[in-house]
Structures are given as C-alpha cells and as structure tokens.
C-alpha cells in the first residue's frame, strides 16, 4: 500500500485512514460533479444568450418548472442523507475504542504535552506499539487545547477538569507529528510533539527504561531530562534568553524582585515553592501563567530539577 501523502490528504498511518479517506474522496467527486455542472451550465448560457444588441430582450420568460425544481430538491436530499450515514457510521467507530486497548493519559498545558503510562512512565512524546488499539485519556491543566494527529486522521479537544477520550490503531512504524489545534495563547503554534510508533518488543523495552528514568543517573542528569520531558523548556531557557518565564541560567542564588512579595533570594525552598505553587510569588515583568506542578512532580523529580537548576551558572 502507498502510505505517502496525496494531493489532498496527508500520509497514512492508522486504521482510520480507511474511514476518512474514502469518505473524503467520494465527496470530492460529488463536489466536482455539482461544481462543474453549475459552472458549465452558467458558461454555456452566458455565451449562448449573451446580449448582442443593447435593446435585446429575453427570448422567453420561464417562471417555473415543478419537475425541475423538485428534481433539484430531491436529488441533493438523497445525496446528503447518504453522506450523513457514511459520516456517522465512520464517526461512531472512531469514537468507541474496541476492547483490549492500552491506555495512556495525556495532559496538555501551555504549551507542552505530557504522556503518562500506567507503569508510571512519563514522557513528552507519545510512544506506542504498532497494530495495537491505544486509548488516550485527555485533560488539560489550564485552558482548552486540542490533540491532532494528521497521519492518523483523528483529533479531540483537551478540556480542563474533564477527561475526553480518543483512540487509534497505528498501522505502521514511524514518527508522526502531533499538533495542538485549539487556540491556547502565545505559543499555540509551537505546541507540537510527535507520536512514535514502534514494534511491540521495542515498545516494551522502551517502557521499561521510561518507567524508571532516574535509574543510574545523577539528580543533575535526571533534572536535565525532566527539563524537556516535563515541558519546562516551553517557557524557560537555559541560555539566559528571556522567554515566557525567566531563564534558569544563573537563577540559583539570584535576587528576584517579586513585586508586592518584595525581593527574594532564590534558594532551594523558593524554587520548590515556584514549582508547587507558582502564583505564591510572581516575578516582576512576568504573567502568572506557569502551571501548578503540585501533585504532578514527585518529590524525587523536584529534587532533581533543583539540582539541575543549581548547575546552570
């Protein structure tokens, strides 16, 4: 099978392709038919009945023709009812996950994704085995987002305080882009990640290491991994450049002006507080947009992040 992109549709990599693409293509031909029907008629009439003398009148006044009018009421009606059934049938299949699926929890936040596996593994890209139904339970930590995998033809809004679901079954291995399609602020268009589809044994291997990411690593190394995996990199740079949040370069030991909160010396306690309740002290010149990581980061991860920040001189 040819899985590459076509003129109208992106590359193909899930079972939904067989639902969406045929419906899309069928409709494409229906549209071509009606569009060219109308345009050809208009063109022919315009050429044939073009006014050649200024005082030329119409050759007939036809006010109605019931047969014709019923015709173009009923034929489109039949066509669209057919389309409705095709659409609904496919859609119900796309919404209801088959038994035996594997579940991953997905959390969206401004502007990063995190994927939480039942084994405890947490990652910033989605890794799934090929030919296995996967169900994603989606929720958001702040505003609305939407989770879209073009190659899989599926998408669902990600809503705060609520779980919304989505499932798919990948048909081939590879890396496919994931995009956020619900407007969520400044870096909405950078809220990208990827889904990596691998063979079943490669998956179990990956899951084993991912479930224990700190294994065999120093807290500093582990912190460096968390920096990207936990989405801190979406807002904090480590090279001193100012982004949505303050840079971590030289953060430890710095004096921060927290407006009404006064001057604060950045130490372990302050960094911990900044992660667990970020609005407690908001640094001057920044919006209070940082998500709350209370209950999200384990104690070990907090310690690792602090150790990592300390290394950024």
């Amino acid at each position: 099978m040819d899985n590459s992109k076509t003129f109208w549709l992106p590359e193909k990599a899930s079972t939904f392709v067989d639902i969406v693409d045929p419906a899309f293509n069928l409709y494409l031909y229906i549209s071509y038919f009606f569009f060219f029907l109308i345009i050809i008629l208009v063109t022919v009439f315009t050429i044939k009945y073009l006014r050649r003398r200024p005082d030329q009148l119409a050759t007939a006044q036809i006010t109605h023709n019931l047969t014709l009018e019923l015709g173009w009421t009923i034929i489109p009606l039949i066509v669209v009812m057919g389309l409705f059934f095709i659409g609904m049938k496919g859609y119900l299949h796309m919404r209801v996950a088959p038994a035996g699926y594997m579940q991953v929890n997905v959390k969206g936040q401004k502007w990063a994704w995190s994927f939480e596996y039942p084994s405890g593994a947490v990652n910033d890209t989605l890794v799934v085995p090929v030919n296995t139904p996967v169900k994603l339970a989606l929720t958001s930590r702040d505003v609305l987002h939407s989770f879209f995998i073009p190659a899989f033809r599926t998408k669902a809004d990600v809503i705060p305080n609520r779980w919304h679901a989505l499932w798919f079954q990948a048909t081939r291995t590879g890396v496919f882009p994931v995009e956020c399609t619900q407007y969520c602020g400044t870096n909405h268009s950078y809220m990208l990640t990827a889904v990596k589809v691998v063979e079943a044994d490669a998956y179990s291997e990956w899951l084993a290491t991912a479930s224990d990411p700190g294994k065999g690593k120093t807290p500093e190394q582990f912190g460096a991994i968390l920096y990207t995996k936990r989405g801190c990199s979406a807002c904090h740079s480590i090279d001193g450049s100012k982004a949505v949040g303050p840079s971590w370069k030289g953060l430890f030991g710095r004096q921060e002006n927290c407006g009404a909160g006064g001057m604060v010396m950045v130490d372990e306690a302050y960094i911990r507080e900044s992660m667990l309740s970020p609005t407690a002290k908001v640094v001057m010149g920044y919006q209070p947009v940082m998500p709350v990581f209370q209950g999200v980061l384990s104690d070990r991860e907090v310690v690792a992040l602090i150790s990592y920040i300390k290394t950024l001189k």
């Binding site: 009439f45 009148l57 669209v80 389309l83 599926t154 950078y190």
Partner: protein
C-alpha cells in the same frame, strides 16, 4: 397620497448639506450612506490586518511579527470583519438605502431608531478600536472560555463592543421587518416583493432571535471575568462547553445573517442583467426563510470534537445537511434564470457570477465539514478557514461589492467607469481564488489554523496565498477608486440605467427626500420583463 411639503423635490444629497445635518438626519438614505462609508473603512482595516499577518506567513520563521502580535492580528481581523463588516454589512448599508425604495415607502417605520442603530454601531466600533489601544486582545473571534477569562482588559472591551454592535443589529432587523409588514405601497403584495426584500426579511428574523443570545453570552463572560461566578470557568465548577453552545447558537445563525443578504443581491443582479424573471421566484423566496429557520438548529456542528455526546454530534450533523437543500434550490434557480435570457456582462453581473462560483465552492466545502468522520480530521485546519472565506468574503463581500456597483447610480446619481469596473472584478476573482483555494489543500493536508509557525512543507501554499491577496487587494482598491472617482468624472446617471423593473428604479437618481414624488401603485411583479418578439 399625502400632500408633500415644499422642498421635497430636491434630491436627498442636496436637501440640507453640512456635516451636522448628516449627523442628525433620520433619512434612511443618508443613514445608509453613512453606514456604507463606515463599513468600507472597517473592511479596509480588517483587510490590512489580514495583509500584515499574511506577509508574516511568508515563511515559517519570524518575518516581522512576534507570536503575540500575530495572535492579536488575526483576532482583530476576525472581530472587525465579522462584527463591524459582514454582519451589519449589506442590511445596514444597502438594505437601509434600498428597502424603503423597493416597497415604495417614504422611510423605514422607525427613522429615529434607525439613527440610534447607527450610533450604537459607531459606539461599538469606537470601543472595539479602543480595545486595540487598551492592550492586547488575542482571544480569537470565538472568545472560548477559559482562555477568554484572563481578565485581560482589551478582551473585556472587545466583548463590550460586540454587545453594542449586537444591539445595533437587533434594532436594524426589527426596523426592517416592521417596515415590510406595515409600509408596503398599494399593490405591493408579498409575492410582488423583490427577492432582496425576502432576504432582508429572513435576515431580520435571525437578527432578532439569535443576537440576544450573543448579548447574554457576552454579559455572562464579562461577569465571569469580573466576579468568577463559576458558570464557564471549569476550575470554579463551570462548563466551558456551555459557553461554546451559547456562542454558536448565535454565531451559526450569524453566518446566515451574513450570507442571506448576499443571496438577495445576487437575485436582483442576475434578473436585471439577463432581463429575465427569476426562475422559481417562490422557491427562492421561501428558501431564504427556510435557511433562517434551519440555521437555528445546527450550531453544534462547530463542536464535533469539543466533547459533546455522540448523540448530539449525530443529530447536529443530520440537521446540518438540510441546509444544503435551500442552498441548492437557489443555486440551480439562478442558473436556470440565465437560460434564454439576454445576458449583459456588466460589472455587477461579473460580481454576481463570481458570487455563484465562490458560493458553490464555499457551500460544498461546508457540506464536507458536516460529514462527522471527515470533520474530525478537518476541524480547526485551514480547510475551515478557506470554507468560511469562500462564503463570507467570496460570496457575501463579493455580492456586496456587486450590489454597490449595481445601486451606485441610484445612490449617488453618477455612473462609474465600466471598463475599469470590469478589470477590477476580474482581479478580485483571480486574486480571491488564488488566496483561498490553496488553503483548502493545505488544510486537508493537516495545517492547523491560528498558527504563527508552521511546517516547512506548507510554505509554498502560504506563499501562493499571500501573492493571491496582493492581486485581490489591487482589484479591490481599483474598484474603490473607480467608484469614488465617479463623483468627479462620472457621467450623470439616468433613473434606470440597467432597465430593471423593481420599484427603486422608478425613483429619481438620486431619489428625493421622501423617495417618490408620488406614492407608487404597484401593478406587477418585480421582474416583469418583456420577451423578444419572434
């Protein structure tokens, strides 16, 4: 019927001149002209924002806008185009001017209310402009909660602005419906009304019944922002989907408020320039009303991936397909009207045929979005952006511009230059389709909307689109200069330059203060054209 006051026989432009007299006028024609001027200014403003962010999209990298600026620009573009341009658009500008003339009335039923609508429009517009100064409004025209609950003052001002604009829209619709019910000239039965008026009627119904829901949505959003009462904010126990339901309960009918007046103009122009009675007059008239009614029960099709129940999604999809039927009736009836006509490809007709082309594409792409399984893929991609520009810009605004050309001689008493007009119409056609057709392809390939940054593979589509916009803008400016130039170098317009049969062409060009020197008595339908003797 009623004796006329002296001085009534002077044309409305000349009766009492001076800015002050215009500002306090209650004459529907002057109010219509002031609306027209304001709306065109905002059209240019909205277009300028589009131009700026389309330039930014020339490459996936930063051109000259930051992501925040980009987000503000498309928000301003959307809000200005929807609430200040297309929604008031045809009814407030052309409807105001033409409606009383077409039914043979001296004015709208409530002239002072009409002036109030205009002032509310200006007030709303001023507040909307103020919000640009007040900060950064970046919530998108859809204002989805909880993003719009950030207590950002610019967003709040924008909501206040939309509230006043909504009010203005309700009052205009109300005025029109009352006028059509009670002020028709003797002999002007419902079925002798031009189709433009049936369109105004259907639009009025939607304005009156849908807009109040927008008003309450905005009130609730403002209250939620100030007090956090927990109706939309999920962290306080509210429901963000309720906000979407409220919003689309208005905004779906709003898209028909936008397009139905365009249908009306297309009917007038096609009849006049083929010298034919509209094929299936009653079907076309009823289908406007049918669209207005069906339009109230399909709003959920904007929320297929938002988290509604499967049942709700299926029902909304099912109902949405019915909008295709009245639309199909119209498209086919216009096509059939051309048959055996005497077709004159003057500028307005070029716009009307262009409208037909664009509306067919826009409508057909709407139907594919109603197919549930396919919409899951297409939702919030450029495909949707292209769909609604085909219907809003390609259909409504093109019909609007066609209508301006068609009624220009009546409104100003001047003829524009026909050749320049035709060239502009062709540029608009080519430019528009170049801008938006590629967006269909890009969208179905998976390019999301509201994206400052995008994958490299889409660059070529974005570039074609931007070049298309340049052509489109040249076309639009040419048209505008041609029209305005006619004040100086246009020839004097006769009362009925197109040989049309509707009532407004029996009045002088431009009409006198109370429209007709004598109340007309209507004896035939609006398109009673003669036939060539064989």
């Amino acid at each position: 019927m009623i004796a006329h006051v002296q001085g009534d026989n002077i044309n409305y432009l000349k009766t009492r001149s001076g800015i002050m007299n215009w500002l306090v006028t209650v004459d529907h024609k002057r109010i219509g002209m002031m609306y027209l001027a304001s709306i065109l200014c905002f059209f240019i403003t909205g277009g300028t924002f589009a131009f700026l962010f389309r330039l930014e999209l020339w490459s996936p990298l930063k051109e000259f806008l930051t992501p925040d600026q980009y987000n503000q620009f498309f928000t301003l573009h959307g809000v200005i185009m929807v609430f200040l341009v297309v929604v008031p658009g045809i009814p407030a500008a052309l409807g105001n001017f033409i409606l009383p003339l077409q039914i043979g009335a001296k004015d709208l039923a409530f002239p002072k209310l009409n002036l109030t609508s205009l002032y509310l429009y200006w007030l709303g517009a001023a507040i909307a402009l103020w919000s640009i100064v007040a900060g950064h409004a970046d919530q998108g025209w859809t204002m989805y909660a909880p993003y719009s609950l950030s207590q950002n003052p610019a967003v709040l001002w924008m909501m206040v602005a939309a509230f006043f604009l909504g009010f203005s829209s309700i009052l205009t619709g109300l005025n029109f419906i009352v006028t059509m019910h009670n002020m028709r000239a003797p002999g002007m039965t419902w079925y002798r009304m031009p189709l433009f008026l049936w369109a105004m009627y259907a639009t009025g119904i939607m304005q009156i019944f849908a807009t109040p829901v927008l008003a309450i949505t905005l009130i609730l959003l403002l209250i939620e922002n100030f007090f956090g009462i927990g109706i939309f904010d999920p962290t306080l126990g509210g429901d963000p989907l309720l906000m979407q339901h409220f919003f689309w309960f208005y905004s779906h009918p709003a898209v028909y408020i936008i397009v139905v007046p365009g249908f009306g103009i297309a009917s007038e122009i096609i009849a006049a320039f083929s010298k034919k009675d509209i094929f299936g007059y009653r079907f076309v008239a009823y289908s406007s009303v049918a669209i207005a009614i069906i339009g109230f029960v399909v709003w959920g099709h904007h929320m297929f991936v938002a988290g509604q129940s499967e049942l709700a999604d299926s029902i909304f999809s099912f109902l949405t397909f019915f909008t295709a039927i009245p639309s199909a009736i119209k498209v086919f009836n216009w096509t059939a009207t051309l048959y055996k006509g005497s077709i004159d490809l003057k500028t307005p007709m070029l716009y009307a045929l262009q409208f037909l082309w664009n509306f067919t594409i826009g409508g057909l792409t709407g139907i594919i979005l109603a197919i549930l399984s396919v919409d899951i893929h297409l939702h919030d991609t450029y495909f949707v952006v292209s769909h609604f520009h085909y219907v809003a810009m390609g259909s409504t605004m093109v019909a609007f511009i066609g209508g301006i050309h068609y009624w220009w001689p009546k409104m100003t008493g001047k003829m524009y230059n026909e050749t320049v007009g035709k060239i502009a119409a062709w540029l608009v056609f080519i430019g528009f389709n170049a801008t938006f057709f590629v967006q269909l392809i890009m969208g179905s390939l998976g390019s999301p909307r509201r994206y400052y940054h995008y994958w490299d593979q889409f660059q070529i589509y974005h570039q074609i689109s931007t070049v298309g916009l340049v052509i489109l803008a040249i076309g639009l400016f040419t048209a505008l200069i041609n029209l305005i130039g006619s004040f100086w170098n246009g020839s004097v317009a006769p009362a009925n330059p197109w040989g049309a049969k509707t009532l407004e062409w029996q009045a002088d060009s431009p009409p006198v203060l109370y429209n007709f020197t004598e109340t007309p008595i209507v004896t035939h339908g609006p398109y009673a054209f003669e036939t060539e003797k064989a």
